[in-house]
């Protein structure tokens, strides 16, 4: 016990030193601005960071998207008006990426739509099933909960390497398939399979997070509703459709929107797993921005085009986030009504 206390004190010591040092600085400041001025001082550092790395960049992004050339410094970039946007939207038919001037962007858009549709759809369904099961009285509940949750904490690179290793031509999965009489499949170099596995791995990695949120929603449903239904001898299927789902619905909507927001921005795992390939068949919109702006092999870094694409992605995300905030608020209001 005493030992523990000593360790705490040693760990605390640098903290105390730092805080006392700032205190020396803060006392005269408080004298100048008074107590009523202090909140601004407390907000200052955080808001300085917000300004420098979020708000100002948002403005610069707009400027970038209206300029051309290859220079990074804004003052050296020529103004080109809406040329970047025109370049992106120059299409004969928006539904056929090949007919577009910037076909890579549109491929990214359609890949993202395909990816998000399947990823969000299946992930929410499986998260819901898992949450419903984990909400029952089962043996080893907390163990199973961590089993489903732990991949959430793995880094995208780790997730990518783990699955790449399994899906290799001579990997574990192919050896299972051959064992049961099938023949080897090139999982990551056949476009349809690559998309399947990208969706699968993404669900594998993020499902636990959504399961946890849905589980919290399930546990917030008042148990006396279930007790009343049990007493009336209601069938379980009916309980699910008439009690659980309606009461969970607002929670589920928030989960869907949150998954959409994250899904549209997916980059990491796919980049490690397939690199967007084969060809461009798993290259999503964020990867398009990344390659255009920073990593086009042999080509110039096209910051203007990347910024314009970011603005388009930003508008999509803004709409989704506003829906989420609206849903969140109406949920809070409903709670107050009850």
């Amino acid at each position: 016990m005493l030992k523990k206390k000593i360790i705490y004190e040693i760990a605390e010591w640098p903290f105390r030193l730092l805080m006392s040092a700032i205190d020396v600085l803060m006392r005269p400041i408080q004298k100048i601005v008074g107590i009523n001025g202090m909140p601004y001082i407390f907000l200052l550092p955080n808001f300085l960071f917000f300004g420098l790395f979020v708000i100002i960049p948002l403005g610069i992004n707009l400027i970038f998207s209206f300029t051309g050339g290859t220079e990074l410094y804004v003052e050296n970039r020529p103004f080109v008006g809406d040329k970047q946007y025109q370049f992106i939207f120059d299409c004969e038919n928006y539904f056929i990426p090949n007919s577009c001037n910037e076909d890579l962007f549109w491929r990214g858009v359609y890949n993202t739509i395909t990816f998000v549709f399947f990823q969000v759809g299946f992930m929410v369904i499986f998260s819901l099933i898992t949450a419903l099961i984990l909400n029952k009285k089962i043996i080893g509940r907390s163990f199973f909960r961590s089993v489903y949750f732990f991949p959430v904490l793995l880094s995208p690179v780790v997730v990518g390497v783990i699955w790449k290793w399994i899906l290799l031509r001579n990997g574990l999965l192919n050896s299972f398939i051959e064992n049961f009489g099938g023949s080897k499949v090139l999982f990551l170099t056949e476009p349809t399979w690559a998309m399947f596995w990208v969706v699968f791995v993404s669900i594998w990695a993020h499902m636990g997070f959504y399961t946890l949120i849905i589980l919290a929603g399930l546990q917030a449903i008042p148990p006396n509703l279930y007790e009343a239904a049990e007493m009336d001898g209601t069938k379980r299927e009916r309980i699910f459709w008439r009690i659980t789902l309606p009461l969970l619905w607002s929670n589920l909507l928030v989960v869907i929107i949150l998954a959409l927001i994250k899904g549209v921005q997916t980059f990491d795992e796919i980049y490690v797993l397939t690199g967007g390939g084969p060809g461009t068949s798993t290259s999503l919109i964020v990867q398009y921005i990344y390659t255009t702006g920073f990593a086009a092999a042999g080509a110039v870094q096209n910051f203007g085009l990347a910024a314009a694409a970011s603005m388009i992605l930003g508008i999509v995300l803004l709409v989704l986030t506003l829906i989420q905030l609206y849903l969140g608020w109406s949920k809070e209001e409903k709670k107050q009504d009850i």
Partner: protein
């Protein structure tokens, strides 16, 4: 008699809600069993594979446990030779060591009697193997590649970024929870506003800001942009709002400065929320990928994640090293999860952040 028996049975197996067996009960355990296999299996496979030798990894079909072929020193040969069980032409079994292989014929020698050479068709021989952990997969990359350096970079980024995040976020949360001041609503809306702008849509301009500060290819370029988190501010503010105001009033009566109220009174009381934010910040920073990928272009400044990615993208992947380093990269997070699981899950459930 029979009736009372079934009654007793019902009484013993009666559950809280109802007493009928339902198909979902069986299905639940079936589902969970598959879940364990699917979620744990891949990581287990990574762990087992990381202990296989380079030769063991190329084997197909793969073995479950890390096995290595036995080697033996034979008189007259400089290098150790690989041991095989060989079925001789007369049907007898012998343990032979391979000297070289020409096409489908293997030249072999008896370790106990090195003078006589045998020519054996390769389908008549079978490797002799034993369970062996290839620890060199872990030690060699640390010496030969910059991996130790990457680890150091990752630790610096994680520790510094977490400290900065905790200090500035808790200051802002303190300002937004304890005081009433002009423009408070504007400030809160402002914080929500930053929540709407993820890094993915401002990659180019943030890179521009960073390069104006000369922080491209520097760890500070990774640390600073994400240091102020709106989720962190909200999490801490929500907690600080629950603290009794009388404490702060009392401290003011005692003539304490605002700053010392912040760090002597409010911070210690908010420790549970700060711990949650610290854990999350550590995980975010350790796993961060896209932004470091853009900022860090030289291998001296690579973090573990970027180093791993560079390594797995090489033309000829050295899987035996890659797998071992992947284990090293996930180990810190696994340890944190093992000890602080409850903090993490309640933190997510209550704030919806990741």
């Amino acid at each position: 008699m029979i009736a009372s028996k079934t009654n007793l049975f019902n009484m013993l197996t009666k559950k809280r809600y109802g007493n009928k067996k339902h198909w979902t009960d069986l299905f639940s355990y079936f589902y969970l069993a598959i879940g364990v296999l699917l979620m744990f299996g891949p990581v287990l496979w990574l762990g087992l594979s990381s202990f296989k030798t380079a030769a063991g990894l190329t084997e197909y079909p793969p073995t479950f446990l890390p096995l290595a072929q036995l080697e033996v020193m034979v008189e007259g040969y400089k290098k150790p030779l690989l041991l095989y069980n060989v079925k001789m032409e007369d049907g007898s079994l012998m343990e032979l060591a391979e000297i070289r292989r020409i096409g489908i014929i293997s030249q072999m020698v008896d370790p106990n009697n090195p003078k006589i050479r045998y020519k054996i068709p390769i389908e008549n021989r079978e490797r002799i193997r034993e369970f062996k952990m290839a620890w060199e997969n872990y030690t060699e990359p640390l010496e030969r590649f910059n991996f130790l350096h990457y680890l150091k970079n990752s630790v610096s980024v994680t520790v510094l970024a977490t400290i900065i995040t905790l200090i500035i976020n808790s200051m802002a949360a303190y300002g937004l929870s304890i005081y009433e001041f002009k423009g408070k609503t504007v400030a809160i809306v402002f914080v929500i506003g930053t929540l709407l702008i993820p890094l993915t849509i401002i990659l180019v301009p943030v890179y521009y800001v960073i390069s104006n500060f000369m922080m491209v290819n520097s760890l500070w370029g990774v640390i600073l942009p994400g240091a102020a988190t709106p989720t962190g501010v909200f999490l801490l503010r929500q907690y600080m709002l629950t603290l009794p105001r009388e404490l702060i009033e009392a401290a003011r009566m005692d003539n304490a400065s605002e700053w010392s109220i912040y760090w002597r009174v409010v911070l210690p009381l908010s420790l549970p929320a700060i711990a949650v934010l610290a854990i999350f910040s550590i995980m975010w920073r350790w796993n961060e990928f896209l932004w470091p990928l853009i900022v860090l272009g030289r291998s001296e400044v690579y973090t573990v994640q970027i180093g791993l990615n560079a390594f797995q993208g090489e033309l000829i992947t050295q899987w035996h090293y890659l797998l071992a380093m992947t284990i090293l990269a996930l180990l810190p997070i696994a340890i944190i999860f093992a000890f602080l699981q409850r903090f993490i899950t309640t933190g997510i459930a209550s704030s919806g952040m990741k």
